[in-house]
């Protein structure tokens, strides 16, 4: 396999570039995505490469961005819309939820809405309560939407390419603190990661840990530490948060009998709860040896002060503690 090292940011850009080259129906829209390259520089250079016809800067009008994307998708194009920060999708929820997610169903399948909404998410940048949310749980409660959340550059590329090719509206959660992280990314033309397939990041036998986003990187750290102590953790990354491929999780829990779920977004009402519920209502409940341990972000808005913000999301230490708890080792 032809691999190249690059950042998560570059991998996303490469996915868009390749899909734009492949399919003339793909176009980009968003605020300052041209010369400026977007607030996080993800689209940098794409205006030069593809021109103003396909890389469209918009006024600050989030509802119009999402609705315009949906209308163009309904008529045959494949828009990729960027919200400058995920928090601003609050301004586009009607277009996304009442229109993009529902037009296919309401029309009995006569239209489809192949579009992607990219959402730079998460805390950790000192940007405060209105620029740091991860709202994925909302979208995982909206039938008609799909939700992706890549954690590595390779996943970012492979999932974004699939999302662009998918014939449904896909909410694509990107993590601001991952943009600079680097990794090897396949260069094959046909490299994609299919949606709705969970991925086993690491095999193990003592306990199942489900995680994604920046929390996954901390989980991996924690699991490496624990490996030194002879604890063997299986890590599953759902990749697509909705609809979620639960089978690998069920199988793993049946094998390990213990489950820890870790994510950065607020714990209460978060996607972790849904996973815990799915396990607790499944027959793999009968295999569980101890309560499920769910670790999430604090149930507070995100503060600016560094020492406060740092507490928002779980780190490797907290995760290791959670794993000990699930193993009955605390």
């Amino acid at each position: 396999m032809n691999l190249q090292e690059m950042s998560y940011r570059e991998a996303l850009r490469e996915a868009m570039r390749e899909e734009m080259q492949r399919d003339p129906a793909v176009w980009l829209l968003g605020e300052d995505i041209g010369v400026y390259g977007g607030s996080f520089k993800v689209t940098l250079g794409l205006l030069d490469e593809f021109g103003e016809r396909r890389v469209r800067e918009t006024p600050i009008s989030e509802s119009a961005i999402i609705g315009t994307a949906a209308g163009s998708a309904m008529t045959g194009l494949r828009p990729v819309a960027e919200m400058m920060f995920s928090d601003f999708i609050t301004l586009g929820m009607d277009a996304l939820v009442n229109h993009a997610a529902k037009f296919r169903y309401m029309s009995n399948g006569q239209v489809q809405i192949p579009m992607v909404v990219r959402l730079p998410s998460g805390s950790g940048t000192g940007a405060g309560a209105q620029h740091s949310q991860s709202l994925e749980a909302w979208f995982c409660n909206v039938p008609g939407l799909k939700v992706c959340a890549p954690s590595t550059p390779a996943q970012a590329k492979g999932l974004l390419k699939s999302a662009i090719r998918d014939n449904n509206p896909v909410v694509f959660i990107e993590y601001k603190t991952l943009y600079d992280t680097r990794g090897l990314v396949p260069q094959e033309d046909n490299y994609i990661i299919p949606l709705e397939e969970s991925y086993i990041e690491r095999r193990g036998s003592d306990i199942t840990v489900v995680s994604w986003g920046p929390a996954l990187l901390e989980t991996i750290k924690a699991v490496r530490m624990l490996a030194q102590e002879g604890i063997s953790c299986e890590i599953i990354n759902p990749l697509t948060l909705y609809p979620m491929d639960m089978d690998p999780i069920f199988e793993s829990v049946k094998k390990t009998s213990r489950l820890v779920i870790v994510h950065d977004s607020q714990k209460t009402g978060g996607v972790g709860g849904e996973i815990a519920a799915r396990v607790a209502e499944n027959d793999c409940f009968n295999y569980l040896d101890s309560p499920i341990v769910r670790i999430g972000g604090l149930d507070t808005p995100v503060p600016v002060a560094e020492n406060l913000e740092r507490q928002m999301v779980p780190d490797a230490g907290v995760i290791a503690d959670g794993i000990y708890t699930a193993l009955g080792l605390d």
Partner: protein, 321 residues
């Protein structure tokens, strides 16, 4: 005038189809034969049918609001399919899933209604963007009501359409009310078309009960938009003679006001016009009216015979493959 005698007859005929269709619906909802709710445009047929007819002629695309029967029929929809949808039947134009507020009829370029006030504006921008992007030479007709022009979506969409020079005509049917709210409590200006100035686009207020005027202006506006000049805002003054939705007792306005507006009913007005200008004879009009009436009767009978959707269809088409 850009309309042949044949087309004028068509217009008249479709206005009557729309009128009979809606009067039938009114009765069905009143008698609780039908489930859900509906928004009728009785009295607004000149606006709805006239505008739709203009879009249809060049194969343009249309997107509608909650009160979309007139336009849908103006575009030439099959009444049986529409009526089937009102009954929530499998043969309805949305398979029974959409109902009165979510018609769709792609065959006639009709991308359907949205039940969310103002929700159509950004969709229309996107539809128009596709035309521009693919250089199809087509334009988009986007219908809205007077109440919808105070939604943020109206503002964002007209601004975006103007900056991007999108081929879209925003056609506002000003029926003087947003549900029970009279215009002066919705906004502090007289003419909605004046809002075009905020976007640097042309705007015009027209007599929405004059179907020929509506047709002519919408056609010109669509051509303007299609030519690359960008969006156009039209305000068509009209009146909803019926209640807002099935449960409206209309206590917010006087009967006198309604009666006065009934004198401006666009259908007799158009009939008079056709006869005065020697474009039709009374007999012709009578026959068209009978035909329209029959059409609705046939549609109604057919809809009633349609099976309800397969129970399992509740699960289908949430996602595309």
């Amino acid at each position: 005038m850009n309309l042949t005698t044949e087309e004028l007859s068509q217009l008249y005929y479709r206005m009557l189809q729309a009128r009979h269709f809606e009067e039938t619906l009114e009765d069905l909802f009143h008698r609780r034969v039908l489930h859900g709710t509906t928004h009728l445009g009785i009295g607004q047929e000149a606006a709805g049918v006239g505008a739709a007819f203009a879009a249809l002629k060049q194969g343009d695309l249309t997107i509608l609001t909650h009160r979309g029967h007139n336009e849908t029929i103006g575009l030439g929809a099959d009444l049986t399919m529409l009526m089937g949808e009102m009954f929530g039947r499998s043969g309805g134009c949305s398979g029974g899933k959409g109902g009165s507020m979510h018609f769709i009829d792609l065959e006639h370029g009709n991308y359907g209604e949205t039940g969310v006030v103002g929700g159509a504006y950004p969709l229309a921008c996107g539809m128009a963007f596709t035309q521009q992007y693919n250089e199809t030479g087509k334009a988009v007709l986007c219908v809205g009501g007077d109440g919808s022009v105070n939604e943020g979506n109206f503002h964002e969409s007209l601004n975006l359409a103007s900056v991007w020079k999108l081929p879209v005509v925003f056609f506002i049917e000003n029926n003087l009310y947003s549900m029970s709210t009279p215009l002066e409590k919705e906004m502090n200006i007289i003419n909605i078309s004046d809002r075009s100035q905020s976007y640097g686009i042309p705007g015009i207020t027209i007599d929405g009960n004059d179907v020929v005027e509506v047709y002519e202006i919408v056609r010109k506006a669509l051509d303007y938009a299609r030519s690359g000049e960008g969006p156009f805002l039209i305000e068509a003054l009209t009146y909803r003679q019926c209640g807002h939705s099935k449960s409206d007792r209309q206590i917010y306005r006087s009967e006198q006001e309604v009666e006065n507006w009934k004198k401006e009913d666009p259908i007799p007005r158009f009939a008079e016009y056709l006869i005065e200008h020697g474009l039709a004879e009374e007999g012709d009009l009578y026959r068209l009216e009978r035909r329209a009436y029959e059409d609705v009767k046939v549609a109604l009978a057919a809809a009633k015979e349609m099976p309800v959707p397969n129970d399992d269809s509740v699960y289908t088409d949430v996602y595309a493959e």
